[in-house]
Amino acid sequence: MSFMDTIGLGGFKGFAVTFRQIFTKKVTRKYPDEKRQKPQRFHGRHVLNRYEDGMEKCIGCELCAGVCPARCIYVRGADNPPENPVSPGERFGFVYEINMLRCIFCGLCVEACPTTAITMTQLFEMSVTDRQDAIYTKNELLVEPDGTPNHSQPAGPLIDLNELKLSDGWMRATSPAGRAAYEGIPHWPGSAGAGVRPPERGQRSDGGEV
């Protein structure tokens, strides 16, 4: 039996795909040496933001915890000490914990947040060797007063802490009063380290038509 008989004409047809691909551009990347550009609304690790003056944005309202479908957020509020307030207003987030093992990164907490305190970033490298380490507390979630993010692990070839500075700005694209005519006008306060984030493509920044 000859070679041609063994593989048949179908064999050539099948390998044609393989041979053709040899000459096309590769889509795989050499992760982690080479990282992919992630979409702007990537659902990575959360951060708790501060205002530009260093005040915490979180008011401990627990709306994130209430909306969370995975029940992975635990928040408790407390009275703001009047002489040394943590956040503007009467109340601040005293305890803030996210169990990253339970989190499904759906982003509903970000949508629910009335003060843009919680946003999602581009960092997703969060593997841990102890379940306890997967529960992120305010120590890891809250950014420093200058906007520098914290993380449970040091920067390394896998972990690029700069990715924690990349959060999106779409979450307040509607007016606070909910009036349809205002829809699309970005309205959100600035954050420490990032200032007022620019609107996305398609969002209006000046109140005019898109």
């Binding site: 008011i59 401990g60 309202c61 627990e62 709306l63 915890a65 209430g66 408790r76 509020g77 407390a78 009275d79 207003g89 009467e90 109340r91 009335p114 003060t115 606070p176 009063a177 909910g178 009036r179």
Partner: protein
């Protein structure tokens, strides 16, 4: 109780459907009963309607066409045609909500009400969705403290007047009011007068927005965190229905639940805020055993083994038990059964000889229910100051006197919370009560009108000891007189939460379970069939127990949630008794003056931590529910006693609380037919009133009149209770502890002059049981020759309760 007449019915047309409703009923209520909810803010079913908020507007057809009327002020009449859901009504509702939201801040995320807020809910359900108002909202200073317990945020207030109406109509503490006009209208307290009401927590509960918030609950949780269960308050014996709300196994809030039979939804701040004591750092978490004079932590096995050995080493009738007045019926029953059938002793008392006799409390004839107040023509209150001792009962009596128009007669040694609304107020010198009663009976002089009022029934008499030093036989004499009045109903008062239940369970020297006298041979035989041989005869009462321990007749003492050293009228005797007892074991939730001296302390589950039933002051059995686990290694009382019995070679058969209730129902005559399913799900959801003493019940107590001889002494003592005293439960509730005022000695101004002291000076009071030094105060409502001292205070406790006291001014240096 008198039968309520059949209400007259009329037919109204509600949204096109003919509905039969009670004539004169408010439209808003009638519609709700028919299944149509009309949104409202100012209307509250226990307050008089005012029609302030305009949220409940409905369209009603009248002779001149249709008109929008507030349904909370519209009584139902025959042929009324109502539309609550058409476009006109919706437009009105949208308008009202848009208007209310002009000034209401949108700080819902930080507001305690957010998530359970009627304004939020109605805005979603009936609101316009957006506002045309672009101007700046009204601003006030964010929350101002109007009392030590309540914060007011005037920006959030929608001026519905629920809080002010509650204070005016229900509690009588008119301490908050509207001030200013127009856009500046706001709720405020009066100058320099805080909103210091015993009922301030109710205004927080009924506030339809987050304008009034309670400090102890402030920012502790959000409504969707909370798990709730219905239970009853174990702060006093009214048995108020409450909703116990927890998060993460912490009781964070207690709210009143509207119960027609007991509290009408209201609570005292003590009911509401002593929840802090549940999670006190001082809660007992592990068994403690005394070693080398110190209480040290031990294992349950070690502690119980020691108790079993020590109790086994003395004769049964050398052991006595005190307490169970704050336990559930199931726990009290197990306690009584343990003492009578395992230890075999007749000596036990649920009270500390500080209220009325056991038989009088358990089985007095013509026993009243709280709801008899609704139909009473005349109410005679000859008891402690209800506002201080049983605040929710005070609200019910006040309602009867003010809203329902009953004639109220109050007799007490001083001015009480009810004096303002009473038609006849009499004060007398403690010790001269018998004489006062004789004059009342005769209608002598100033008593003539009151005597006349007592002839028009139904007459409800609330009778108790006016003070710790008063002879308990006076209350019985009053009850004996009250029985002769038309349609008499008598409510004998004791204060501790489940003291009536504990007596019914047989934690008494005179009573066996189910209101059976120990002298009743038939009842005793029936009980012996179930429990085995019982100790002979009548047991010792609390004072006799303490005397027995002191003299050595008794060797060992078991306390269950009782503190004789801190609470007995003779503190020195109690202290010596506990010191000289060979062995003292305390089952308790907190370390108190007695358990701190005990040899073994066993931590038990408290309120919210154990399931069971309790019997209130009208004999109503209600269900207590469990929602959190007990702290540390604490266990339920019945399981501790069951374990102890097993180690002493006996068996109690207490496997779970529900089984114990079944056993009670089969053994205790008055409790036949009571079971948890009935109280949880059946007709007994508002509790079941036990049958009063009649032909079917073994025990009837006929109050007897005793001629109490008048006392002769320069000063007689009125030892009256105040709501916030130095009780352990208050001490462990930081929010209430700050409200406690130290005791003082109050005299009539003329007595002050005779003693040559000024208010603020000190006097030394010396009674039969102890001596204290207190600051002096003037009180014009007292009779001359009376000294009024607040009971159960750290600085007055040592005085004890002797009727006659010697008063000497203390002359400090330089005065």
């Amino acid at each position: 109780m008198a039968d309520t007449p059949q209400p007259e019915l009329v037919t109204i047309t509600l949204n096109g459907v003919d509905t039969e409703v009670r004539k004169g009923q408010l439209l808003i209520d009638a519609a709700e009963q028919a299944g149509t909810y009309i949104p409202r803010f100012c209307y509250q079913n226990r307050l008089k309607p005012v029609g302030l908020c305009r949220m409940c507007l409905v369209e009603v057809e009248g002779p001149r066409g249709t008109a929008l009327v507030p349904s909370c002020t519209q009584p139902c009449t025959e042929g009324l045609v109502v539309d609550s859901e058409n476009a006109v009504v919706h437009k009105a509702q949208e308008g009202v909500l848009e208007f209310l939201l002009l000034n209401h801040p949108l700080d819902c995320p930080v507001c305690d009400k957010g998530g359970e807020c009627p304004l939020q809910d109605h805005t979603v359900a009936y609101g316009p969705g957006e506002s045309r108002f672009v101007e700046e909202k009204r601003h006030y200073e964010k929350p101002i403290e109007i009392s030590d317990l309540v914060l007011l945020d005037r920006e959030r207030c929608i001026l519905c007047a629920r809080c002010t109406r509650f204070c005016d109509e229900i509690s009588g503490d008119s301490l908050i009011e509207f001030v200013d006009r127009g856009n500046g209208t706001q709720i405020l307290t009066f100058f320099d007068e805080p909103f210091a009401s015993y009922f301030s927590g109710n205004t927080v509960q009924i506030c339809p927005v987050g304008a009034l918030t309670a400090k102890p609950y402030r920012f502790r949780a959000r409504p969707w965190d909370l798990e709730a269960i219905e239970s009853i308050s174990m702060v006093d014996s009214v048995g108020s229905k409450v909703s116990v709300q927890t998060s993460q196994n912490q009781v964070l809030r207690i709210n009143g639940v509207d119960s027609d039979t007991t509290n009408h939804g209201w609570l005292s701040d003590k009911d509401r805020f002593t929840l802090q004591a549940i999670h006190s750092e001082d809660r007992l978490r592990v068994p403690l055993v005394r070693k080398d004079g110190e209480l040290v932590e031990a294992s349950w096995g070690e502690a119980l083994e020691l108790v079993a050995e020590r109790l086994g080493s003395v004769r049964g009738d050398e052991v006595a038990g005190l307490g169970a007045a704050r336990s559930t019926n199931e726990e009290a029953y197990t306690f009584a059964k343990f003492l009578r059938s395992v230890v075999v002793t007749p000596h036990m008392d649920a009270q500390l000889d500080d209220a009325l006799s056991d038989e009088f409390l358990a089985a007095t004839l013509n026993r009243a229910e709280i709801n008899d107040l609704e139909t009473a023509g005349t109410i005679l209150v000859w008891a402690g100051d209800l506002k201080e001792e049983l605040p929710v009962l005070y609200l019910r009596v006040r309602r009867a006197a003010t809203i329902l128009g009953a004639t109220l007669i109050v007799i007490h040694p001083r001015r009480t919370g009810l004096s303002d609304v009473a038609d006849h107020v009499f004060t007398y010198r403690p010790g001269e009560g018998a004489d006062t009663l004789r004059r009342l009976k005769a209608g002598d002089g100033p008593f003539a009108e009151a005597r006349q009022a007592l002839d028009s029934g139904p007459v409800m008499t609330i009778v108790g000891r006016t003070g710790g030093a008063e002879d308990p036989r006076l209350a019985e004499s009053v009850a004996a007189f009250a029985r002769t009045l038309p349609d008499a109903a008598i409510m004998p008062l004791a204060r501790r939460a489940n003291v009536y239940g504990a007596l019914d369970m047989g934690v008494s020297a005179d009573l066996l379970p189910g209101r059976v006298s120990v002298r009743d041979t038939e009842g005793r035989t029936a009980l012996e069939d179930a429990w085995g041989p019982l100790p002979e005869g009548r047991g010792k009462h609390a004072t006799e127990i303490l005397q027995g321990l002191k003299s050595g007749d008794l060797k060992a003492l078991i306390t269950l949630g009782a503190d004789p050293v801190g609470n007995h009228p003779q503190p020195a005797l109690a202290g010596e008794a506990v010191e000289s007892a060979e062995f003292v074991v305390s089952l308790d939730t907190l370390l108190n003056a007695t358990s701190a001296r005990a040899d073994v302390v066993l931590p038990v589950a408290g309120f919210g931590e154990s399931e069971g039933t309790a019997t209130n002051l009208e004999g109503r059995v209600q269900k207590l529910n469990r929602i959190i686990p007990p702290p540390g290694q604490a266990r339920t009382t019945w399981s501790v006693l069951d374990d102890l019995a097993r180690r002493m070679g006996a068996t109690l058969g207490a496997h779970d609380a529900e089984t114990i209730m079944k056993e009670i129902a089969s053994i205790a005559p008055a409790y036949a037919g009571i079971d948890w399913a009935l109280l949880d799900w059946g007709e007994g959801r508002d509790g079941v009133v036990l049958p009063g003493p009649d032909g079917t019940q073994p025990l009837q107590h006929m109050p007897v009149e005793t001629s109490v001889t008048a006392t002769t002494g320069r000063f007689t003592l009125h030892l009256g209770r105040v709501l916030y005293d130095n009780a352990d439960v208050v001490r462990n509730s930081p929010s209430l502890d700050v409200l406690v005022q130290p005791a003082s000695a109050a005299f009539h101004p003329r007595d002050l002059a005779v003693l040559a002291v000024q208010p603020g000076d000190s006097v030394r009071l010396a009674g039969d049981y102890g001596t204290v030094e207190l600051a002096v105060r003037a009180d014009e409502s007292l009779a001359e020759g009376t000294v009024y001292v607040q009971a159960n205070m750290d600085n007055s406790r040592a005085l004890g309760a002797s009727l006659i006291v010697q008063v000497d001014a203390v002359r400090g240096e330089g005065s």
